[in-house]
Symmetry: C2
């Protein structure tokens, strides 16, 4: 209870239990402060593996840990399930949907969400992948597409159900396309009678000249080759011009092509959550085009040394003069830095500017193939895949989750199975929106 | 593809991929028939463990297996994700929501659902527990109650959030009450700052003079003692007279008592799905008060030897002259019997009437305690709990699920943890219905 805490201790309020917020809270474990971690969700989510939930390889609980469970031994940290809605920096108060809370130092790490670049009408037809409900809905939609294809007697319609378009060739898009291909070619291979799931077409669309634009060219080429070996059609320098429930229109240069599809995955872009702009308005800070709050080298806001912004919500200039990318290692290092800065201030010490130690990046493309950069080295193939496995396992929070994920990965690898391919959303009998009533008939099934 | 199957083979259509339907389909593996298994869900669900999903001990995928995965090696079986809506027994056709399908033999095993005994308005305030969405919603509601209590400054309101009422003292109600108590007393014990989760009150209400009315009296008494040791208040000979979002009114004899609570679990009754009455209307068969179709000793309907009904949807008279209970072993044995009957008919052989081999029943009450009957023997305590563990693990479909569940049970047992306690339903920012806007304030949190 707040009233039981010593009121002389500085109050640190953290918005967001993602990588940045969680690591800030943990690094304040022994600091003489009271920490309040605020999140709308009751769990920390390991976002890099969301695509494995969307393709039935892992369960939601495998990649999410209850925040109270993670932090329950940390005496100076309490958790509040609440939604931050605004700021009153003069009074040092954070506004919540149903109350407010005072702070001495505020850490804002509320993250990012999908953006459709002004095409919000594409949201339903091309869902993003940023949360567990996103992943469960996408899993439902993907599995339903195969089920609908199985019921479909018209070859064109069947082909439409079996066509999957992934928009965006960054790590999420590449990993999603690879997993979709494996789902179709291996897991579901013998599951259907009428359709051959290996007929599934997976098209990966990217506006850039190469996939994984943030990686060295050699690795982009390697990733593209791995994707093509998996049967994924890679379409670079191509934009999604229109997205509808039954088709997408792709454009490269002057050429336009309509692709009949029922399933589009949006992996093309993220932007900062709207809370960033609210913070900028309240503090006079600036935001960039992606809605990220531009921070000073010590992650504070100009004129507001008591407010730090970090992770995907922050635009923090890196050593190369460009903003740091929205990666988990950036958020983790910034979270730890924020804690160090608070501790140093209590001791009256200065803290040097935040410096990102680049640990590299990686992406996996199906079984036994991945690309990774590490301190300037490029790794690809089986070695990169092993490194990917190991690093992702180690970054998962909780020994139990590591063990369960390792077991499921081993099982999935050996058996080509994905046992979490559940459809659960429409059990109450309501029809999903993508179910075209009347278009399917079993009348000819036994004739 | 249906068109590729030999049309001379008899068509067996099975409605329902639960225990009865699945075991019928499997037992027809080597029979010279074409099997079509129809379900609205894409998975077989191990219902006896639903309460563990609802209390965060297991993930949905742990107790559900994709039907296509289970049956993908069975050449003569195809699966159709569809909803049966009616019957045309004269034409031997089953009507679907979006088509129809012809059969030579029809096995109807569509199961049961919760009933509120004419109080359908209680559904929202006292949800049942029959499907994965039910379990996930209930998990959300239970965890939210603790979160709301943590935010609540009014002691009466806090007590209201921490009061849980389970209506119905059968196995589901008893297991649910025990798991709720363990969640509060062990798992969440150190997770909150303001509330002490061990203050949670769990009240189990049953209309009968004793819980587990289907078990020997000795075991009912043992179960009641185990529940009371876990802090569960057992109220027998008590009815739920009214259920509202913020309270229930209990009645025992002439006494009425109002209990302020935000969380009521309905485990008081099931009835056959409405498809049963449609089948009765179409065939002239009779239904009992619970909507179950009254079947002949060979599970067929009078005048319709080509239609069999089994599992929770069937009223099948047992050796004692009373209808067999709605238990998994009954459905499994009936499913196998149905397959045997079909095979015997193809060979021109008679099949003796269905006889249920009573394997007993069991219920677990928290850690290390259970009650079980086995061939007239009564077992209780640790031995019964071990038997419960072993039998439930063995009944789970799929080696991977067995391994994962065993690991999680071991982990939960050793650490008192329940890592699947996720709240995911309202991440889009929509408020859950039980969230009383404006009743919670953090204004005093730091003052």
């Amino acid at each position: 209870m707040a009233g039981q805490q010593s009121q002389s201790r500085p109050q640190v309020v953290i918005i967001g239990g993602g990588f940045g917020g969680l690591h800030a809270a943990r690094a304040l474990k022994r600091a003489p402060v009271d920490v309040t971690l605020i999140d709308r969700r009751n769990h920390h989510l390991f976002q890099p593996l969301l695509y494995q939930v969307a393709t039935g390889g892992l369960s939601p609980a495998n990649i999410a840990s209850p925040l109270r469970g993670i932090l329950h031994r940390q005496q100076n940290c309490r958790i509040l399930l609440a939604e931050a809605t605004g700021f009153d920096p003069a009074a040092k108060r954070l506004l919540l949907a149903d109350g407010e809370i005072a702070y001495d130092t505020l850490i804002v790490a509320a993250g990012a969400r999908s953006t459709w670049f002004g095409h919000d009408d594409w949201q339903d037809d091309a869902p993003g992948l940023k949360s567990l409900p996103d992943a469960v809905k996408l899993r439902e939609r993907i599995l339903r597409a195969f089920e609908m294809a199985e019921r479909e007697t018209n070859p064109d319609s069947r082909r439409q159900w079996l066509t999957f378009v992934v928009v965006g060739g960054g790590p999420t898009g590449v990993e999603m396309a690879g997993a979709l291909s494996e789902l179709a070619r291996h897991t579901l291979r013998h599951d259907f009678h009428r359709i051959d799931p290996t007929e599934a077409r997976i098209i990966l669309v990217d506006a850039e000249p190469r996939v994984l634009g943030g990686f060295p060219e050699k690795l982009s080429a390697s990733a593209a080759r791995s994707l093509e070996r998996l049967g994924v059609v890679v379409r670079t320098q191509t934009l999604a011009d229109e997205i509808h429930a039954d088709r997408v229109v792709l454009r490269s240069g002057e050429d336009r092509e309509t692709i009949a599809t029922r399933t589009v995955v949006w992996a093309a872009g993220v932007q900062a959550v709207p809370l960033g702009r609210k913070l900028a308005e309240a503090t006079g800070a600036e935001t960039d085009r992606g809605g990220r709050v531009i921070v000073q080298p010590d992650l504070t806001l100009p004129g507001h040394p008591d407010i730090l912004v970090l992770g995907d919500l922050a635009n923090c200039t890196g050593a190369d003069g460009r903003p740091l990318p929205g990666l988990a290692p950036v958020a983790i290092q910034q979270g730890r830095y924020a804690a160090r800065l608070i501790i140093n201030r209590l001791k009256g010490r200065e803290t040097p500017a935040f410096q990102y130690r680049d640990l590299g990046a990686m992406a996996t493309i199906g079984r036994r193939s991945a690309v990774a950069t590490f301190r300037g080295w490029s790794i690809q193939g089986f070695a990169a895949w092993l490194a990917w496995l190991f690093i992702h396992l180690m970054q998962l929070v909780g020994f139990e989750n590591r063990l369960l994920v390792l077991l499921q990965w081993a099982w999935n690898y050996l058996t080509f199975s994905r046992s979490a391919r559940l459809m659960t959303l429409y059990e109450d009998g309501s029809r999903p929106p993508e179910h075209p009533a009347g278009s399917v008939s079993e009348k000819t099934a036994t004739s």
